[in-house]
Symmetry: D2
Subunit: 384 residues, 4 copies
C-alpha cells in the first residue's frame, strides 16, 4: 500500500491541499501520512493544526521549526532546521512519495529532505510566476521534484520549458479551487463569521453589512519596506471607514514589521470598524470572502480562489507580479490613494463572472488518482 | 569595499575556486571572506583546510556540519545544519555577495542561506548535466542564484533556457582549468608524489614507473549499489597489476560503502601495487595526473581538467552522464571487463590533444573582474 | 592577553553582567568577547542588544536561536540549537574562558558548548534556590562549571556542599547589585520613564503620581496554569486602579499564554491606568523601581536588587521559592485577594532599610580581578 | 498504561540497559518506547541497533545526531543536535517517563530534552566518580533528573549528598551486572568469537589459546594526548605478542586520533596476533571477557562487569579515576612499561573472586518495578 506523505506547514497550505488529503483518506489502496510543521502549529499564525484535527486528520508527526525573529536570518535558519528534522521524520515514516506545496521556505525544506533521502517528490503549484523570494524558491523546488501537478496549462508549459520531462508534468488544476467550487455551491446566507472567530480583536459589527477583507503579507525581497508598505494599506482602509475583516500576516521575513505596523496604527488611530483575526477554517474563510465586497492585499487567494469566485480584488505591490490572473483583479502600487481608487472601482463593479484560471474544482480527483497509480522514480535529467 | 564571501566545503571545491580566491586577494578594491566548512575540515576527507592555510588563506569562519553516517538521511541533515549555521555566519560577516560552487549538498546549503538572507548569490559551474542527486541540486541552485559564471557556451545556453536573464549569465570558463593551464606549463619531471602524501596507505613504488590514478565516488541515486559498483573497479584494477594511486571517495551518501568495499578488498586480496591516499594540494594532484597514464573512475576531474590536459580517462557509470566532454573520455558501465578493456584502449592510445571544453585557463581574471564590478541585485523573475 | 567571552542571552542577563562587562573593557590586560544571542536579539522581548550597543559594547557574534512557540518543546529545542551554534562561535572566537549567567535555558546551552569544547567555564549566580525548571538548570550548570562566582555566603556554602572544590567558589556578590548601588546614589527626581519607552502600550500618566510595577513570568513546571496565574494578578491590579508599569514576560515556556492573558484582559477590560512596556536600559529600569511604591510579580529582581533598594515587593507563587530574601518581600500565592492584601500592606509599610543580601555593590571589581588572574583549568572531580 | 521511553545512544549503553528493556517488555502494565540514536546507529561504532533488532526490540524512533570530526567542537554540536531532535521525538511519542543512561554526551541531550519537556526523568548509573568530561556530565544529569537508580550504596550516598531527595534515590544495582550474572552461569566452553564477528580486521587465531582483550577510549579532557596515549598501549601489547582482541574506541572527542593511531601502528608494525573488532552482542562480549586472561584499557566494563566476573583488569590513565572498584583492577599510567608490568602481574594472579560492587544481578527486576509503580513528578528542589 503506497504511503503518501503530505507536509503541511502553514495556514494557506492547508487550504490548498485539504481536498487532496480528504480524497486520499477515502481510498483504501493508499495511506495518508500527515506531517504538520512550522507556522501551522503556532497560535500566532492561527494554529492551522486545530482545523486539521477538527476535520478528522491525525498528524503522524509534528515538528516545531520556526525560529523567532521573523527576519531574513531566521527564515533561512528555519528552513535549515526544517530539513534536519523532516529528514528524521521521513527516515522514521518511510513514505513512498512526499508532497510539497507551493513556494514557501518550508516547501523547499520538505523538498530537500525528500530529494536527498531518495524519496520521489511531488510538487503542487509549480510553474507559476510571482515576486518575492517565493519566485526563486518555487522554481528551485521544481528542479528538485520528480512529478509536477500544476494548476493550468500556462504553468505546465513553463515547467516543461525549464527542462522537466513532459511526461512528468500534469495540469491537474489547483486543489484550492476544489474548496472554492464546493463553497460556491453552498448557501452562505446565515454565515456569521463572529461566531467562528476565537481570537479576533476589535468590535464585532453586523455581518449583513457590506464589508471588505484585507490580507497583506511582507515581500521578503523588499524586507526593509515592510512597515512603510502596510501603513499605506492601513491608511487607505481607515479612510474608507467600511467594516473590514483583516487577517494577520503569514510567518515570513518582515511579518514582525507588519504586525508592529498594525499594532502601532491601532494604538494611535480609532479604527473600530476593522476587526483583526488570525485564522478560520479554510471553508469558512471562503464564505467570508464570498459575502464580502472586495479582497485587498497581496495574497495569492485573490488571484487563485477569487478568480473562480468572481470576487473583486485589489492586488497591491509586487508579491503576485507575473502570476496568471482573471479579470477580477486590479493591480496597484503600495500607495494609499491608488488603493482607495481601486477599491472604489471594485465596489462599483461588483462581482465578476466565474473564471477557471486555476482549475475546475476537480483537482483532488485527478491528483489522488495520479498519486495512487503513477510510476514513481527519483532519477531525472534536464531535457536539453 | 565589496566583500566577497566564498564558501569552500570540500576537497574538489577548493581546486575549482582557488585561482579565483588568489585573484581576489591580489585586488585592493575587494575583500575576500573565506568560510571553510563540511568535509573540507575533516581528516577523513583530506583536510582541505590545511592546504588553504599553506596557500596563505585565513578562514574568517569555520563550520563543522557533516553528520556521520554517509547515508541519504545524514546527507539531508548535513544540508539543513549547514543552512542553519551559514545563515549565522553570513549574518555576522555581512558579505555583499556570496559565491557557491558546483552542485554538492553543501552548495545548496550555501545557496539557500544566502538567498533567504537577501544576499546576492553567484553560482559557479551551473548549466552542466550529470547523473546522481547532483543533477537536481545543480539546477535548483541555478534557480536560487542571481548571477551565473558558467564554464562554456553549452552551459550558458542551458542556464538561459531554464529562464535565467541572459544578462546575468557569463561564460567565464571553469577556474579549475586555470590551475590545469598553469601546471601544464610547469616541469613535472622530478615530481615525487610520495614525498607529498602524509596519510597514504600501501607500499610506495617508483613514481617513474607507468601508473594509473583511480577516483570513484558513490552515485547517490544508486545508493544501494555503491558497494557492488566499487568492487567492479577494484577487481579491474587489481587484475591489471599496474602501480596505481587511488583516492578515497568524497563525503557523499554511499561513501561509507565505498570505503568499506575498499577496506574489505584490501584485507582479502594482496594488492601492494595500489597506494591509497586522501588528498594532495590541488596543483600536486594535477601533477600526479599529468604524469599518469590514465584516470579511472567517475570524478568530474576526468571530464574537466583532463580534457585540457589531454589525459586518457575511463569514465564509469552514470555519475557524469550528460556532461559535455572531450575526446579523451571513454565511457563504460560499472563492469570489471568493460573497465579493463577501456583502460587497455587508453593505454594504447596515450595522450590526447588539449581541448578547451571547460575554459582557456583565464577564468579567474574574468570572474574576479565580474565579482568586483558587476551590478548586484536579489530581484529576479523567470524570463518566460 | 586572556580572552573572556560573555554570552548574553536575555534582557535580565544583561542587567546582571553589565557592570562586569564595563570593568573588563576598562582593563588593558584582558579582552572582552561579547556574544549576544536568543531573546536579547528579539524585539518582542525588548531587544536588549540595542541597549548594549548604546552602552558602547560591540558584539563579536550574534546568534538567533529561539524557536517560536514559547512552549516546553520549543524551549528544549532552543537550548539544543544554542549549543550547536555557540560551539561554532567558540570554535571561531577561541576564548580562554566563558562566562555563563544564572539559570536560564540559554545558560545551560552556553555551559554545555563551553564544557564540551574544553574551555574553562565560569558560572555567575550559582548556588541559589528557586522553583521552576530554573532550579534544575542552575545546579546542573554548577556541575558543568569550573569556577563559581556566587552572590553570598549562603550560595557559596550550597555550591561547596554539592561537591565543588572550595578553592573554586568565590562569594563575589551579584553584579546586579552594582548597578543598584550606583543608581541608589543618583538623583532620580526628574526621571520620566515615558520619555524613555519606545514601544509602550497604554495611556501615559503623570510619573510623579504614586505607581506600581508588575513583572510576572511563567513558571515552566506549572506550564498549564500560566494563563490562570496571570489572570489573578491582572484582576488584583485592575481592582486597585493605581497607575502601573507592567513589563511583558521573558521568553519562557508559557510566555505566550501570559501575553495572551494580558491581551485578552486588555481587550475585555478598561484599564487605562496600566501601561505595558517591553524593556528599558538596566539603569532606567532601576530608577523606575526606586520611584515606585511596590514591585509585584515573581521576578528575581524583587529578591535581588530590591533587597538592596529597600523596595517593597509582593512575590507571587513558586518561582522564587527558596531563594534567600530580605525583609522587603511578602510572599503570596497566585490569588487575587492575597495579592491585593499584600500590596496594601506594602503600601502602608513604605520603603525598607537597605540589605546587602546579594552583595555590596562591588561585585564587578572582584569578578574582573578573578577573571583576569585566577588559574584556569577544565579538570575537576567531585569532592566526596 | 505507563509509557517508558528508553534512549539508547551507544554500544555500551545497550549492554547497560538491555536487561531492563527485556523486563519491561515482559510486563503487560507498562509499554516500552525505544529510541535509538547517535553512534548506536553507526557502522563505524558497531551498529548496536542491529543487535537490538536481533534481540527483538523494534525502535519507535531513530535519530542520526553525530557530527563527524570526533573532536571537541563536534561533540558539543552533536549534543545540541540531539536535544533538538529528541525534543521532537518526545513531543510525538509523549512518554510518561524517560530513562537516560550513564554519563555520555548523548545522555545529557536526553536529559535536557526530557527535563525541558516536563517529562519525569530517570537517571541510571548516577553518583559515580570518574575522570574525563563524563565526570561533569554525570553530575549535571543528576541535577536534571527526578529519580535516580544507582549501582551501589556509595553512589546513593553521593547522589543524596549532592542535595537530591533521599526518597528519590534507589540503590538498584547496575543492570550491566544482570547480563554478567546470567553469562557467568552459562557454559562458554565452545564459544568461538570469530564465528560472531562480521567486521573484524586481522588474522584469526585459535580461540582456545590464552588471549587478552583491549578496549581503550579517549579521555576528552586530555584530548590532545589521545594519540600519544594509545601508542603506549599499542607498544605494550605488541611487545607481549599474545593473541589479543582489540575493540575500536567509542565515538568521543579524540576517537579519531585513537583510530588513526591504531591504523598507523598497524601499517608500520607486523602485529598479526592482534585482531580488531567493532562490536559484538552484549552477551557475546561478556563471553569473550570470561574466556580471556585480562582486560586492558580504560573501559568502565573493567570496573563494573569485570568485578563481578572476577576478571583481571589493567586500568590505564585517568578515565576511571575515582570510580569504586574491586580487587580485580590494577591501575597504571599511560606508560608502556607500566602496562606490561601490570599485565604480567595479572596473568600470574589469574581470576579473582566474584565481588558485587555494582550489583547482584537483579537490577532489572528492581528497576522495572520502580519504573512501573513509583510516583512520577517533575517538581524538585535541592535538599539544603
Amino acid at each position: 500500500m503506497r504511503k503518501i506523505c503530505i507536509v503541511v506547514t502553514a495556514r494557506p497550505s492547508y487550504a490548498r491541499i485539504k481536498s487532496v488529503m480528504s480524497a486520499i483518506k477515502k481510498r483504501s489502496d493508499v495511506k495518508l501520512q500527515l506531517v504538520v510543521a512550522a507556522s501551522a502549529l503556532l497560535e500566532r499564525y492561527g494554529s492551522a493544526i486545530d482545523y486539521m484535527k477538527t476535520d478528522g486528520f491525525k498528524p503522524d508527526a509534528v515538528v516545531y521549526m520556526v525560529l523567532e525573529g521573523e527576519n531574513l536570518v531566521t527564515a533561512a535558519k528555519s528552513t535549515g532546521l526544517g530539513i534536519v528534522e523532516l529528514a528524521t521524520v521521513f527516515d522514521n515514516l518511510k513514505p513512498d512519495v512526499v508532497v510539497s506545496i507551493a513556494d514557501r521556505y518550508e516547501t523547499i525544506a520538505t523538498a530537500i529532505a525528500a530529494a536527498y533521502s531518495n524519496i520521489p517528490l511531488v510538487h503542487v503549484q509549480g510553474g507559476e510566476v510571482t515576486g518575492s523570494i517565493d519566485e526563486k524558491v518555487r522554481h528551485a523546488v521544481t528542479k528538485l521534484s520528480d512529478l509536477h501537478f500544476v494548476a493550468n496549462e500556462d504553468a505546465k508549459r513553463r515547467v516543461i520549458k525549464m527542462g522537466e520531462d513532459p511526461d512528468k508534468v500534469f495540469s491537474t488544476g489547483c486543489p484550492s479551487i476544489d474548496l472554492a467550487a464546493q463553497i460556491s455551491n453552498t448557501s452562505t446566507k446565515n454565515f456569521n463569521p463572529f461566531e467562528l472567530i476565537q481570537k479576533g480583536v476589535g468590535e464585532p459589527f453586523d455581518p449583513k453589512e457590506e464589508y471588505l477583507v484585507v490580507m497583506q503579507h511582507p515581500v521578503t525581497t523588499e524586507y526593509k519596506d515592510s512597515l512603510a508598505q502596510i501603513e499605506q494599506t492601513l491608511m487607505a482602509i481607515s479612510s474608507l471607514k467600511m467594516p473590514t475583516f483583516w487577517l494577520w500576516p503569514n510567518v515570513d521575513a518582515g511579518s514582525d514589521k507588519i504586525s508592529k505596523g498594525i499594532r502601532m496604527f491601532r494604538e494611535n488611530n480609532h479604527i473600530p470598524f476593522i476587526y483583526f483575526l488570525k485564522n478560520m477554517a479554510p471553508e469558512d474563510f471562503l464564505k467570508l470572502l464570498i459575502n464580502s465586497k472586495c479582497l485587498i492585499g497581496n495574497s495569492s487567494t485573490g488571484i487563485r480562489e477569487c478568480s473562480y469566485l468572481g470576487l473583486p480584488v485589489v492586488n497591491i505591490g509586487k508579491r503576485q507580479q507575473g502570476r496568471l490572473r482573471g479579470k477580477n483583479v486590479i493591480d496597484v502600487d503600495c500607495n494609499k490613494q491608488d488603493i482607495i481608487n481601486a477599491i472604489d472601482k471594485q465596489l462599483q463593479n461588483g462581482k465578476y463572472p466565474k473564471e477557471e484560471v486555476y482549475g475546475d474544482g476537480c483537482a483532488d480527483q485527478k491528483i489522488v488518482e495520479l498519486l495512487s497509480t503513477v510510476e514513481l522514480s527519483i532519477d531525472k535529467k534536464i531535457h536539453y
